[in-house]
Symmetry: C2
Subunit: 546 residues, 2 copies
């Protein structure tokens, strides 16, 4: 027997209409290339969104087709988010920093009809345009005064001119909540990028889950500055969840790494909450400490995308009275999986006691089901000790990559995140490694990351990496690979001794090799794939451990 409540769809259109009606006077402040301080209201924004929807229809884009964006965080990008998705088209946000061949691949794979781009990305596409035969036109997100003087891009359109003559009313289609709303590609270290195709339903549910008090805790009294790019998983959804609660939005455009601009925006707009990767917080901290400025309105910042070093927590708390909260997720999770707030019994703890909790990635958000499993897919206990592969399920978790032939999840419907973690009795997950990097020694798992962290504390080590190498008896054993500090010549025995008492004895690397340089990926991470190739035929120097 079915319930008899209204069967109304969960759509981004409804969030937009709600925000327009109830919070029409909330503000959106942007830094753009053509205006260092653009300010308007939700009502203004959604009026232009309706003009843009008319323009998209006039351009002949059809429901279900993709429209690409290469853009930073500003009001025009926000307008595109809503106009494209609420028209029943797919908003394909593209990371402009990808390699040219990756850009070419994803634009063609998505079959983007039009590309909307910031002026600064015109050269990026000029170099690619001949390999993008299906793109019908390029819309530069600026006004006529700031259009490039000349360009080899065909059908080059000015954003402001595109929408200027359009009516500001639009008859939004009634969408099925399962309709695709947006598309974001994730670039792994191997193979082509893979697209994650979000639906209106998954986006709205993610909004509700991520706005809860123990997630971002968004309210209409917040002034939210998303520093995470809108080309990274919809800017963690803040461009939807902010309007859902009527929060003021502050969008720093291309100035996302500029501590001074961030500080100015925070203080002039009274930002209460911001979100971004640790690098951004280091930039902001650096500026604040150098300039002696304070950020009194800022209450909390969400950090994600990479583990956040403890000094970032400490410096923000001690010098600026700002609480740093970790979150964890990924493109395949819309992105939010866990968020770190304190449980009630921890509130009265000393800062020293709170620190180990804060360094964890947090508890699952209601809507995300999570487990850790061993090599045989057996579920492991939540005891803070057992570490296993993290698997997730939920209505905002991926089922299948865009245009893939098979599901991305296992037979029981779980998506394997590729992360290895422990979960403690209070539900806090702590990432210990990536699945592909964890070292499987005698049926037990050793965290390569933890070993690297220990190695890096040795005064003679410039850089260190740990990989698993084949071992006759233990299947794999950890190999420490080290770049010594310039002018220093530590011995292997000396460095291995450094692990004594710092990790379990069976975790201590089996051997240490010195190299002149450790290979890195394009995004600056250690390329363990290359290291594993290099040491694939490695012969262990002695027989310890047997």
């Amino acid at each position: 027997m079915h319930g008899q409540m209204m069967n109304l769809p969960l759509t981004i259109t409804n969030i937009m209409k709600f925000a327009d009606k109830v919070y029409g006077n909330s503000e959106i402040v942007s830094v753009t290339a053509d205006n260092p301080y653009h300010r308007y209201t939700y009502a203004d924004a959604f009026r232009r969104v309706r003009q843009l929807a008319n323009a998209l229809a006039r351009l002949g884009v059809e429901p279900g087709q993709c429209v690409g964006t290469l853009a930073m965080n500003d009001y025009r990008h926000l307008e595109l988010y809503y106009a494209i998705s609420c028209s029943g088209m797919v908003c394909h946000t593209i990371n402009p920093r990808l390699f040219p061949e990756q850009l070419e691949y994803i634009i063609n794979h998505a079959e983007d009809q039009y590309l909307f781009l910031d002026v600064m990305f015109v050269p990026v596409l000029e170099r690619l345009v001949e390999r993008l035969p299906r793109v019908k036109g390029f819309v530069v997100m600026t006004d006529e005064a700031h259009m490039p003087a000349s360009s080899c891009l065909p059908n080059l359109i000015c954003y402001e001119s595109l929408i200027a003559g359009e009516a500001d009313t639009f008859d939004w289609p009634e969408l099925d909540e399962n309709e695709a709303s947006s598309l974001c590609y994730t670039s792994g270290t191997t193979g082509n990028p893979k697209g994650v195709l979000y639906s209106h339903r998954s986006t709205v549910l993610h909004c509700y889950g991520s706005a809860l008090a123990d997630s971002f805790g968004l309210s209409g009294r917040d002034v939210v500055m998303p520093i995470v790019p809108m080309f990274h998983v919809n800017g963690w959804g803040l461009v939807y969840s902010g309007p859902m609660v009527g929060a003021k939005l502050v969008m720093p455009g291309a100035k996302m790494g500029d501590g001074e601009t961030l500080c100015t925006l925070i203080n002039e707009e009274k930002v209460t909450l911001s979100a971004g990767v640790p690098t951004v917080w280091l930039a902001l901290l650096g500026y604040l400490e150098r300039s002696g400025q304070q950020v009194p309105s800022l209450q909390r910042i969400t950090t994600g995308g990479a583990a956040c070093p403890q000094p970032i927590f400490d410096r923000f708390r001690d010098q600026f009275d700002v609480e740093v909260q970790q979150a964890w997720g990924m493109t395949e999770m819309s992105p939010l999986g866990t968020y770190n707030t304190l449980r009630p019994h921890m509130v009265s703890w000393s800062e020293q006691e709170k620190t180990p909790v804060r360094l964890k990635q947090g508890r699952p958000v209601c809507g995300v089901d999570m487990k850790i499993v061993d090599d045989n897919n057996r579920e492991l206990p939540w005891d803070g000790k057992a570490s296993g592969a993290v698997k997730v399920r939920g209505p905002w978790v991926i089922q299948r990559y865009f245009k893939a032939g098979e599901d991305a999840c296992d037979a029981e419907g779980w998506f394997e995140t590729g992360d290895v973690a422990t979960i403690d009795a209070d539900g806090y997950m702590q990432i210990t490694d990536r699945t592909k990097d964890v070292i499987k020694s005698g049926g037990e798992w050793i965290s390569s990351i933890e070993l690297e962290n220990v190695a890096m504390t040795h005064p003679l080590v410039a850089e260190a990496a740990v990989i698993g190498v084949y071992h006759e008896k233990w299947t794999e054993r950890p190999l420490l690979v080290v770049v010594a500090k310039e002018g220093e010549s530590p011995t292997a025995a000396e460095l291995l001794a450094h692990f004594q008492g710092r990790v379990a004895s069976w975790w201590i690397p089996e051997a240490c090799e010195f190299v002149a340089e450790i290979p890195h990926t394009a995004t600056g991470k250690v390329s363990k794939k290359d290291l594993r190739v290099r040491f694939s035929d490695y012969v262990w120097p002695n027989k310890t451990g047997e």
Copy 2:
């Protein structure tokens, strides 16, 4: 084109499993008839829920069938909520205070298979049992020691004995999110009660919406004491939304109107948030003021069910540092429609400036679409002046009453709430009347409630009511009906003069009639229906206004 995220259903089962897994050590504290201080954890609760699910299956209740409860707020009632709904059955919460003929009607209409009842309600059902031929058994929610010595109820079962021998594992069915989860009847002033049949989907979405920071703002650090009965619209959903965020629950059982018990629970359990009707707050305030106690942990209370008088806001704020927040909704809305928190520009206002805002019913929660319309169903502006019938839409709003032949909403899908309100430019709704009580004079609407409020401020008036009576020229005009204070004899002219300068001149009642007594309904409200019958042939005493 559909998105490719997991198509997982929104079910109460998933909330339960999540709360069990992530927040298993959160507490539930209850006052029951057999235990003044019962305390256990979510993990304990859900273990017993699984035992209860096994028992329900053994009793032969089938998916889609109703199981009734006549019970106060305590842990056994919570167990029933989850065991029944997550088994695919319908949890039919029954208001034990209804008239016997209403109880008979709804129990038979719902076809309740079993009734679960508190000991205190055994006599209520004993008087009815002969007229409930389909009920297969009666389960008294207590242990063997507290079972009634004898009873005419057939197949009388003890709750604790029912579940004692059952396994604490249960294979929960995979439910469609549209499956019915619970049923609550609303008793209007005319006709039989009407059932509202909630679905798992509507319940989960209501949970998300009502937990947001500008709604109840629930976090895992909250200690929530729902004083609104669990037989009233699922206790405003707090029995679901609390576990969703891991909040500690404090359930006062039959002591909901006992200020001393409430105060003790608040202070011993460190309650941060409570929710109930204004009567409860008066009881609590009365006790606090008499006893001189404070409630330092209590941060905010939600008041709903009736307009909250200003002194309740003021006394809680000034004497106890507690913020009172209004909410508005109804059984047909799960129940939450609006919630009252301040907009950012109001935060710095003086308390005097905030008061008129706080007295409004609040802004729509994201998920609830709202409009006000005039007699011709034309939408009215949100200007804080125009008042019209409130209509709502949303995924937790009723489509059709249980077993009804037609929809409860209009052709465009809007449900008419029966309330008349203004909505201001900031989105705050203020109820001015009930649709059936508003006086339609010359095409304009006059609020009967506002006139009654003015009349009640006259020192010689004991009770006053205002109804619309037929008028040749203006269609309707307001008639003031007054019970004078004992020993006083005010004149009609004197009372009508009291309205001068307090309301618009055309709102001033056309005449005043004195009565010995004003008729009331069973729930203590003025019965305007009876008054309208009594004055249906009323002849206006003079020709003013023509």
